[in-house]
Symmetry: C2
Subunit: 145 residues, 2 copies
DNA sequence: TTGCGTGCAAAGGTTTTGCATGGCA
DNA sequence: TGCCATGCAAAACCTTTGCACGCAA
């Protein structure tokens, strides 16, 4: 689809630096664009999309989709090789819309089940788990719609 | 967001009938539109989207998103109350793009983990599990990119 | 110098909104 | 009859593409 970027350019470095600086997970292409525009730099949406896709190909960023119509989200992948890192995955509350980052190694068990029984390697980074969060479940008990 | 549909109309019945007739899972708004246009009926995209959303609210259809930019998918929810029904969920192969329907009750265990440890009720119908399917994993062994 | 990345403008595809009309209750 | 669903057109939104210019190698 996209021509792979072969040069190392200013924007590749700058965008990667931006992701390393912010700890916050879900960043959209627009966020990146607005940030650099806000800083006074001239950057085009085209460049943002191309560099983001490129950084995904390089394994520096992870891309995941919350919902159709909503912009795709990107997050920085920590580059250390520590095996003991907890696995991070995303949960989206269907009720309040909140996006929750959960760190939990139990997901390895889930991955194992997918491999053993369905011969499917689950990509936990890309998958967004939909459901109802703690707060909203408590409200459901008392609220009547 | 959308005004709820309060009347029972021709299109509500027709669209639901269409979903009941086709066994195939992933149907987009365009598919519904094209189907009825192909049959010679005059239906607007607006009506399709409004009725689909409405049928989702009524619990008749399930809506799930494969990817940003790609149209949302809808599927009919079997209305029988049989507790022994296996749970169905969707796996999308990141490599070949194939969408796999998996029936497996082990998902209840996964749901239990989410509830017990993260206080999060996993909506398996809505969640699309990304990963690499059996066929593509076998190819990975031999292929060199 | 060659070719690729960039920015702008425009197009593409999906979904939503405004409004006049027609159908349901 | 009153109100709501419908269809059309247009807009909104996210993302990609075409093209000329400028920068990296």
């Amino acid at each position: 689809m996209n021509r792979k970027i072969s040069y190392r350019t200013k924007w590749q470095d700058e965008i990667l630096r931006y992701f390393r600086e912010i700890s916050n997970g879900h960043v959209t292409a627009s966020d990146v664009y607005e940030y650099f525009r806000g800083e006074g730099y001239t950057i085009g949406m085209t460049t943002v999309y191309r560099q983001l896709d490129n950084l995904v190909s390089l394994g520096k960023l992870n891309k995941y989709n919350i919902e159709t119509g909503c912009p795709a989200c990107y997050e920085y992948i920590e580059q250390d090789n520590n095996e003991n890192n907890t696995i991070c995955f995303h949960c989206k509350c269907e009720n309040c819309g909140k996006l929750i980052h959960i760190h939990c190694n139990e997901l390895k068990e889930i991955q194992k089940h997918f491999i053993d029984f369905h011969d499917f390697f689950l990509d936990s980074k890309r998958t967004v788990f939909y459901g109802v969060c703690s707060d909203c479940r408590q409200k459901e008990v008392t609220d009547i719609d």
